[in-house]
């Protein structure tokens, strides 16, 4: 009788043991990097992404020529189709940070937003990145909401 008292626990342990091997398979599937499709012919594109981490409450609004491209929340990404040539993207809060890029036709560039410490509030920072860095974290990222894309709606 004493042995039977532990039987449900033993069954539970067995169930866990049997189901555990499936977990890595699930993780392997969900850890698959996001596949970024090629830009339209003759255009270039930039993938902006913002892994989670410090300063998740601080916005990272990406602007070009004083117009919003998108608001990049923590754990989000978006793809910006651009004409080939020089581009200058800016983020700001207490202070502004500018990243100059050259977009090439039919190619994809990667830019990461990180939040750095400010005096009163965190300061977003844009830095050049790579496909490899994006692929490492992309499985944790969600696309930016549609209403956060393009110029700000009034």
């Amino acid at each position: 009788m004493k042995k039977l008292k532990w039987a449900p626990l033993a069954v539970l342990a067995l169930a866990v043991a049997v189901t555990t091997p499936a977990a890595p398979t699930m993780a392997a599937e969900t850890d698959k990097p996001i596949e970024v499709v090629a830009p339209p012919a003759g255009k270039g594109q930039i993938v902006f992404f913002r892994p989670g981490g410090m300063g998740f409450a601080v916005g990272c609004q990406v602007n070009e020529n004083d117009e919003r491209v998108s608001a990049l929340g923590a754990g989000r990404y978006f793809t910006h189709i651009a004409e080939p040539g020089k581009h200058s993207f800016m983020v700001s809060s207490e202070a502004k940070d500018v990243l100059n890029l050259e977009v090439e036709p039919d190619e994809t560039k990667y830019v990461r937003c990180k939040i750095k410490m400010g005096i009163m509030v965190g300061r977003p920072n844009l830095e050049p990145s790579t496909k490899e860095e994006f692929d490492k974290v992309s499985h944790k990222l969600e696309p930016v909401d549609a209403d956060d894309m393009g110029p700000k709606k009034r």
Binding site: G53, M54, G55, K86, L99, N100, L101, E102, E104, E107, K109, R112, K114, I115, K116, M117, G118, G122, R123, N125, E127, P128, S129, T130
Partner: protein, 150 residues
């Protein structure tokens, strides 16, 4: 093609628009023929440079290869794969400040340094016609080979 950077560069000192020497790190071959020898020289340009800053921000450096010259032809280049951010310590700076106000400003990110002789890949921007080294002088139209984008 592989392009060699001919001078040391750093995100600490580089200026946007600054030009620097480049050369072909290996010969440009098409169909087994050497069209442009290794060592052909040209120019690159700093597209973006930002120093490492306090509060953990790393330096940033983006370089472009513009052209190499060979035998009177200027071969325009594109897609130079050199774009780097230095080691940042943003998270460490924020955590330090959480423990002790403004302590995060003592953290500085790393600058990006490029050693003289470092190489990166590039592509030919436009098709150009260049003389083959085995062509006979004065034979117009022959001894020329179109070079296509990589």
């Amino acid at each position: 093609m592989r392009v060699r950077i001919g001078t040391a560069l750093s995100s600490k000192t580089a200026q946007i628009g600054q030009c620097f020497p480049i050369s072909l790190a290996e010969p440009l071959m098409i169909d087994g023929r050497e069209l442009v020898p290794a060592g052909a020289t040209g120019l690159g340009e700093v597209v973006h440079a930002a120093k490492a800053r306090a509060a953990g921000k790393g330096g940033e450096l983006i370089l472009a290869a513009r052209f190499v010259d060979h035998d009177g032809s200027r071969i325009m280049l594109r897609s130079f794969e050199f774009s780097k951010a230095g080691q940042n310590q943003l998270d460490a700076a924020v955590m330090a400040s959480a423990a002790l106000p403004f302590a995060g400003y003592l953290f500085s990110g790393g600058n990006v340094s490029v050693a003289e002789g470092a190489t990166a890949s590039a592509k030919v921007r436009y098709a150009v016609r260049i003389s083959r080294s085995d062509s006979e002088p004065g034979t117009e139209g022959s001894g020329q080979q179109g070079m296509k984008r990589e």
